[in-house]
């Protein structure tokens, strides 16, 4: 991260009038660069109406004229977004300017990069998969040329933010042109517009997620990922994310409701059971990651054996829910199974936490890691051979019957308002309720006397105790609460997966759940936030699930991703309010070494401590 100079913010403001001072990678005259970008984007747009290849063997059928399909849609969307941000940002067309309240050139450049990368990837994938560039129809060449033109133009557009040296090298000019100033304070807009904006964003989010999960494995999904990788920073550089988080902070309950409704609508966008299966797993692991975030992110207890509590809940529910392999042979109703599972996990949390929470830091982490493994090995050995037969050993508890609540059988397909809701969709909806509960518990405990005490312990335990915080008791409370929430999620997991067996509760494993996966999800997504672990767990589960060929290298790639993240975005994908202040201090505030991030766009009184919830 380069140091910001006091002049940076000032010169960023007048960038619209003084272009020559801030060259991008290519030194093009400004009108020419803009025109080139526009022409390229239009060309890219038109190319999607041509055929890109001659055979429908390539996934997505790119052979049809005047009807974009498969990967062409990504190029189409990318070109449209280049045009939109170009018109809104560079040409400042009335009615589109709201698209770029922050940076005006960097979003164009990022969209151009993403579109060119996706289009280029498509052409390459067609050539490789069908055996040679001869399989490309002219449309594909037009697409590549068009998006390349747009990219060249965008590289000549110049920078949003001045660098600190007068004659920077090519690489620094390029990096500089990816930076953007923070958006100015939002204008007053009527409340209904803001609420509409929140709802629209949730709808777009749902659509993007559904598109991604539904994209065919292989090239179409990779193309989606490429565009998404460039698109997310583009939206961020344009200042839209900051605007949106400002709105979300202002209308917290509306945002939560809208997000919940969007998640609720997800199953009806899906026609294929396989994808709702992925979705329900994503939801379970995201919920468990959020529970872990309470332990790690709030109280600062590094728990490397967290998955054991998920296992406790899953095993408990499996044993009391009428599985033919359960030695107990009882079948309690679901609500009772949830309560028993959560209660048993709570007891385990207290029993494990009571001795181990007297340790600190690395020692605590190692002890929790040990307890996690002890759980798995115990479950493996309670098989009637090396111990009493409780868990059926390595075979696990199997054939757990489907749930039936109020005469609603979760195993069958139901028709709801004309939409078919299959087995996994049923469980998805059930799990969503649990996710909502965990989100609520997290948010409410975070913003309270107890939550502040947790943060204080995380920051400096000695000082916290000197302020009257009973550190041990509060840490035990966080640990036990986290355990309870994981246990609760485990009870649903047992039903979704029909069976539980000890092998799935390892510390590291190629497939989730495992403690390392959960921890990476929390760190990748952003510690101490609600949406961070949810997004982190979704990405970490979704990407390997869609890219089967990566399975062997999954752990390696997780590691690489973490190292890169710690280097370039140590606060995680989603920064919590405090981390935003930590890493991107507003200009004029001492101790900030980051880019000028401007004022945090949260109206006083609505963010943080003064906020009260319904």
């Amino acid at each position: 991260m380069t140091n910001s100079t006091p002049t940076t913010a000032a010169s960023a403001k007048d960038h619209r009038t003084d272009d020559d001072r801030l060259p991008g990678l290519l030194r093009l005259p400004h009108p020419a660069a803009a025109a080139l970008t526009a022409a390229g984007a239009v060309l890219g747009l038109l190319s999607t109406f041509l055929a890109w290849t001659w055979t429908a063997e390539f996934p997505g059928n790119l052979t049809v004229y005047a009807y974009p399909g498969g990967l062409q849609i990504l190029t189409l969307v990318g070109s449209l977004l280049i045009l939109a941000s170009l018109l809104g940002g560079v040409y400042a067309v009335r009615g589109l300017r709201w698209l770029t309240p922050g940076g005006t050139r960097s979003p164009v450049l990022l969209w151009a990069l993403g579109t060119f990368a996706t289009t280029g990837f498509t052409a390459a994938a067609i050539s490789v998969q069908l055996g040679g560039a001869v399989n490309l129809e002219p449309g594909a060449y037009v697409a590549v040329a068009g998006t390349l033109l747009a990219l060249v133009g965008a590289l000549g557009l110049g920078r949003d933010v001045a660098g600190d040296d007068a004659e920077p090298g090519a690489w620094r000019r390029f990096v500089g042109s990816l930076k953007a100033p923070a958006p100015a304070a939002a204008k007053e807009t009527p409340g209904w517009v803001e609420i509409l904006a929140i709802c629209a964003s949730c709808a777009i989010g749902l659509y993007v997620f559904a598109y991604g999960i539904e994209a065919e494995d292989g090239p179409p999904f990779i193309g989606f990922l490429i565009l998404a990788c460039f698109g997310a920073p583009a939206v961020g550089r344009a200042g839209l994310l900051r605007r949106l988080s400002g709105l979300a902070a202002k209308h917290r309950n509306v945002t939560l409701t809208a997000a919940f409704v969007a998640a609720l609508l997800f199953p009806i966008t899906q026609s294929n059971e396989a994808y709702t299966n992925i979705a329900v797993s994503v939801l379970v692991f995201a919920t468990v990651a959020l529970g872990l975030n309470m332990v790690v992110g709030l109280a600062g207890i590094l728990d490397l054996g967290y998955v054991a509590f998920l296992g406790v809940g899953a095993y408990t529910a499996a044993l009391v829910s009428g599985s033919p392999t359960s030695p107990f042979g009882i079948h309690v109703p679901f609500w009772a199974a949830v309560l028993i599972g959560a209660a048993v996990a709570l007891v385990f949390g207290l029993v494990i936490g009571f001795p181990s929470l007297r340790l600190h830091g690395d020692y605590l982490a190692i002890v929790t890691l040990g307890f996690g493994e002890i759980f798995r090995i115990s479950m493996q050995n309670l098989d009637g051979d090396s111990g009493p037969n409780v868990t059926n050993g390595p075979n696990g508890v199997t054939n757990i019957p489907d749930l039936e609540l109020f005469g609603f059988n979760f195993g069958q397909e139901h028709s709801l308002l004309g939409f078919d809701i299959g087995r996994f969709a049923n469980y998805y909806l059930l799990m969503l309720v649990f996710t909502a509960i965990v989100v609520m518990i997290y948010r409410r405990s975070d913003n309270s006397r107890i939550g502040r005490a947790w943060l204080a312990i995380r920051e400096d335990e000695t000082a916290a105790r000197a302020m009257g915080v009973n550190a041990f008791r509060l840490k035990l409370m966080a640990f036990a609460l986290g355990a309870t929430l994981a246990g609760m999620a485990g009870t649903v997991l047992a039903h979704v997966e029909f069976s539980v067996n000890p092998e799935s509760y390892k510390f590291v494993h190629s497939a989730p759940p495992n403690s390392a996966f959960l921890l990476i999800a929390v760190i990748l997504g952003g510690m101490g936030t609600v949406s961070g672990p949810l997004i982190g767990a979704s990405l970490l589960y979704l990407i390997p699930a869609k890219l089967q060929f990566m399975a062997d290298y999954q752990l390696l790639l997780f590691g690489v991703a973490l190292v890169l993240l710690m280097r370039f975005r140590p606060e995680g994908l989603i920064a919590d309010r405090r981390k935003q202040l930590e890493f991107h201090a507003p200009p004029g505030q001492e101790g900030g070494g980051g880019t000028p991030a401007g004022e945090i766009d949260v109206p006083p009184g609505s963010g943080g401590l003064s906020k009260t919830e319904a």
């Binding site: 518990i441 913003n447 920051e459 000695t462 000082a463 302020m467 405090r578 201090a585 101790g591």
Partner: protein, 306 residues
Amino acid sequence: MTTTTTKEAAQPAPDTGGSVLTATGVTMRFGGLTAVRNVDLTVDPGEIVGLIGPNGAGKTTFFNCLTGLYVPTEGTVQYKGRVLPHRSHLVTEAGIARTFQNIRLFANMTVLENVLVGRHTRTSEGLLDALLRLPRFRRAERASEERAMELLDFIGLAHKREHLARNLPYGEQRKLEIARALASEPGLLLLDEPTAGMTASETTATRELVLAIRELGTAVLVIEHDMRFIFNLCDKVAVLVRGEKLVEGGSETVQNDERVIAAYLGTPLDDDPGSAEAAEVREAEERTAAKAETPRDSAAQEGDED
């Protein structure tokens, strides 16, 4: 950290004479090292007491014994006639709050949140209250926040409530630490080198602040190396040397005590070797001083002693 449980119940005190803090015979040994030996100290209501001594004299160790961070090997500490438990959170609950020699704020929390943590012992909403968010919880949160804002007003940081504590300048961090300690409504405030590393004007401001705290009805016990600060501020000064209390009394008494001077500067040897050279140097220095006439701050800014 040891957290040996001792008798925490209130014991009838022998005779504390209405004083806020009574330490009797406090001794702290670390293995063979006796860091604090048989120290008695009383602080009366509304009093500002200074605790001075050379580096390594055991001042901070004595502080840690008072606040329950250390369990004294011998001796008792009473607060308003009650023997204090050896758990720092219970000491704070009883009414003694402290600041630290090296600032220990909750760096990644906001200014307001730091002060609100200080309110922890004076509020009681538990996890269930937080989850249910009944009107009682909201009332308590609002009251806490109002009280915290009053304190931030008091130290002049109200406009920085949403700033991260780590981003405050040094002097304001010191002030915030005091506000955080005051939030627990203490009867006695322990300040561990509140002016370390401060400029002269900041030191003056700190003095004003301590006097204002006294006006609030809180007694103050302060460790400091800045002698001018101590003698201008304190009603009573105790001198700790090598773990033992040497003198206790008003500024005049302490300043003129030969043992104190000796402890800080050392005693001349019997046959006084090198006295001739010393006289020579002194003479030369006087000559230069007379020429330059530049007053220099004699206050020693000495380093940590932990």
